[in-house]
């Protein structure tokens, strides 16, 4: 009843090509953005902003990056954590070498460095695909981790290899409160998500999807394999690199290879699978599920007080989490994004489905 596009006519190509062609969707997105930019910083406390929303946003960004590669281009990658580490260390090196530089410029440069590294490790994707590609990206992950632990140059010869990140500065303004860090992260994520959304709707995005659906057919109709696949790796790594830099600078406050271990790569892959392959919205939903669920379970059990011992609780967290993943995959194998779509279709007919 409320969600119905009857009476909304498209009179121009621009209207037809809009990201959100239905007016209710536009209002909905505007409302979400308003909540994100205004309500959350006002109502949220340090804990909510610093430890819940910022990790969620950063992981959403990493999931978008991986989704471009896995969901849109069909190239399976386990190198996400490695590319995140490249972004983090690149940002650290750039920020310490040029302390006067605006943090946003540092971020973009770090993303570009990660993109170049991704380009190199994307080369094997021209010859191998599927699980074999997953293995080569896994090798990339371990190679990157090894480089950062063994060459002191990357950590400015710190004897421990763990370095605290330099302060975040832009235009003379130091970003250090949870509110400002949150707003900065949110702005970056919103802009990059918009770019990603438009990218996958562009010619390049369609070429990616053609490769995903059948690479031989895509080649036959004239899509250049080399350029398209490598661009997918580069763009994906750019996103992951920026996510890694944000993770190190904005959330942890330290730059260390251990923060980007192989579990991190699996985590992001789960986000993409649970959220929905080939969906920007799904990246957010998946990140929300994986980041927020463990915190919700621990906090939820805390309500019952000391009745649940911490050791039981921590195992319970893993059990519930695993059960929920299985549950969602059985109920909706195409991910949370698909659930959302089904819900919207039902809503169009509501309350008179016949």
């Amino acid at each position: 009843m409320i969600y119905r596009e009857a009476g909304q006519f498209k009179t121009s190509y621009a209207a037809d090509e809009a990201i959100f062609p239905i007016i209710q969707d536009r209002w909905f997105v505007a409302a979400i953005l308003a909540i994100g930019f205004i309500a959350v910083p006002i109502l949220g406390n340090d804990y909510w902003l610093g430890s819940v929303f910022i990790p969620f946003l950063i992981f959403s960004l990493a999931a978008i990056g991986l989704n471009i590669l896995v969901g849109y281009t069909g190239l399976i990658s386990l190198g996400t954590a490695g590319f995140m580490a490249v972004g983090a260390f690149a940002a650290y090196k750039i920020a310490t070498a040029f302390p006067w530089m605006n943090f946003l410029v540092v971020l973009i440069l770090a993303g570009i460095v990660a993109a170049l590294v991704g380009l190199v490790f994307g080369l094997p994707s021209l010859r191998i695909k599927g699980f074999y590609l997953a293995v080569t990206t896994l090798a990339a992950h371990f190679f990157i981790e090894w480089v950062f632990t063994h060459f002191g140059w990357f950590t400015n010869y710190s004897f421990t290899g763990v370095i605290s990140s330099p302060p975040i500065e832009m235009l003379g303004f130091v970003v250090d409160t949870p509110e400002s860090r949150y707003i900065m992260t949110l702005s970056i994520v919103v802009v990059l998500a918009l770019v990603a959304k438009n990218l996958v709707r562009s010619e390049l995005g369609r070429a990616w999807m053609a490769i995903r659906d059948m690479d031989v057919a895509a080649e036959v109709i004239g899509i250049p394999m080399l350029k398209t696949k490598l661009l997918a790796f580069a763009v994906s790594s750019f996103y992951c690199g920026i996510a890694g830099a944000l993770w190190a600078f904005v959330y942890l406050g330290t730059v260390e290879p251990q923060a980007f271990d192989i579990n991190r790569a699996f985590e992001v892959l789960f986000m993409v699978i649970i959220g929905g392959l080939g969906s920007i919205l799904g990246s957010f939903l998946g990140a929300g599920f994986i980041v927020l669920m463990p915190i919700a379970i621990t906090n939820g059990a805390a309500v019952f007080g000391a009745a649940v011992p911490a050791d039981v609780l921590s195992n319970l967290e893993l059990i519930i989490f695993g059960a929920l993943i299985i549950f969602f995959l059985i109920v909706e194998p195409f991910g949370l994004a698909r659930l959302w779509q089904v819900a919207k279709e039902k809503l169009r007919n509501w309350p008179f489905p016949y």
Binding site: V162, S164, P166, Y251, E256, A310
Partner: protein, 440 residues
């Protein structure tokens, strides 16, 4: 499957859980202590003892003395899985708990220490890292809220070289000797490399570093090199977790004498030697505290907590290395609060007050005796500039299924460590644009 009937309770429960979590329970006359440890994951053997031992000590204080000067201790557990991001999450979740917020914070991980100490300085919560953490933090002028108290990694290392020297019959006998440093290839493992190099130069011995990749289950190649090619006189084992028993077994395989192997205190617990079986016999490890249950403080815990069935751990773990370490951590935490109460009055104290108290904390022999911990821990004294306290180190040997003390408290070489700490702190201060505060 009907999605709606299944999903609605889940969503409702999640929403409820999210909305009610993280609240502060404000009550008077209580002192809140965060207990973030790891009951799951690869390092749970240590983590469960750390969390349980500290809680046992606090329970005993509440039961025996009614808290600290009438202020009851409260705590909340937080599972970190030894993961840095979860430690940050625990820190943020617990920091506002209790009437005065979090009193102090034990990150229980080197990575976690680096991640929280800057925010803790902003929030005015002291970060205590007894026996681990950021070595440079010993310079209190640059790191006012970081307390790597008792003995940091570098100091421990100098004590170890002194111990080796005493076994050889004098520091001058170290000349020309060969020492292999078998270390965990991580921030923690690499931390002692510079101090070892400096000592090698000073005493004229040769040192070679052998990194072991996490988690350290495959060390065959390294031990062949050590046993067949390098043939060192001594080995320093700087491992963590499953790497330690593996190293001991490999050492037995290449027939390297175990009584020429000296472990650091993260390689010297029952959890490291028992799985190695007979291969561990004769192995030596450092410690900043003793094992055993004969100390009055442990007896009090048994009497007031375990005999009433309130213990956190199985009884047989009492007196183990990791358990006693946690009790020492608990004692230092409680004494910091007591000291702060002496300075500002017998009420719940804030993090900033505890920070000031820690900088005057003098754990002398008399105070340790009052706690019933003589022989359990060394004496140390913190000041504004010195956040370490220069405690001595003891060495113990694994004999017949238990740790036996084989040395007295061996003093560390502060004349070497302190200048290096100050240089590292100065480098950090320069990088971060910090003007060190004056301590005079």
């Amino acid at each position: 499957m009907n999605f709606r009937t299944l999903a609605l309770p889940v969503i409702a429960a999640t929403a409820f859980a999210v909305s009610t979590g993280g609240q502060a329970f404000a009550q008077a006359k209580e002192q809140f202590m965060p207990i973030n440890a790891y009951w799951t994951g690869p390092y749970a053997a240590g983590g469960s003892a750390f969390g349980g031992g500290m809680i046992d000590y606090f329970k005993m204080l509440n039961e025996r003395d009614g808290g600290i000067n009438g202020v009851k201790l409260t705590w909340e557990k937080c599972e970190t899985g030894y993961k840095t991001d979860r430690i940050v999450e625990c820190y943020e979740r617990l920091k506002k708990n209790g009437p005065t917020g979090m009193t102090l914070f034990h990150p229980m991980s080197t990575g976690g220490t680096y991640a929280v100490f800057e925010r803790a300085e902003k929030d005015q919560i002291p970060v205590i890292t007894l026996g681990y953490g950021n070595t440079a933090g010993s310079d209190g002028r640059v790191f006012p809220y970081l307390f790597p108290a008792l003995t940091n990694y570098w100091s421990q290392n100098t004590a170890k070289i002194r111990f080796i020297g005493s076994q050889e019959g004098g520091m001058d006998k170290l000349k020309g000797k060969k020492i292999a440093n078998v270390h965990h290839d991580s921030a923690y493992g690499k931390e002692t490399i510079p101090i070892l190099e400096a000592q090698a130069e000073k005493y004229g011995f040769e040192v070679k570093h052998y990194p072991v990749v996490h988690p350290g289950l495959d060390q065959k190649a390294i031990w062949l090199q050590i046993g067949r090619q390098y043939k060192p006189d001594w080995i320093i084992l700087r491992g963590w977790g499953v790497m330690n028993p593996t190293a001991l077994k490999e050492a037995a395989r290449v027939n390297f004498p175990r009584d020429k192997m000296v472990g650091v205190w993260w390689s010297g617990a029952e959890e490291d030697t028992v799985p190695a079986g007979p291969a561990a016999e004769g192995y030596i490890a450092a410690g900043f505290h003793a094992s055993g249950t004969e100390f009055p403080v442990i007896q009090d815990i048994i009497k007031h907590v375990y005999d009433k069935g309130n213990g956190e751990l199985p009884r047989e773990r009492l007196g183990s290395i990791y358990y006693n370490r946690a009790v020492v951590w608990g004692m230092v935490s409680a004494e910091a609060v007591r000291q702060a109460q002496d300075m500002v009055g017998k009420r719940p104290v804030t993090g900033a007050e505890v920070q000031k108290a820690l900088e005057t904390l003098d754990m002398n022999a008399q105070r340790i005796e009052g706690l019933g911990a003589t022989g359990l821990m060394p004496t140390f004294k913190l000041t504004c500039a010195d956040h370490e306290g220069g405690a001595a180190v003891k060495f113990q040997q694994w004999k017949g299924g238990k740790w036996v003390q084989i040395s007295d408290w061996i003093e560390t070489d502060q004349s070497m460590v302190r200048p290096m700490v100050e240089a590292a702190a100065a480098k950090y201060a320069k990088e971060k644009n910090i003007t060190p505060r004056s301590c005079s």
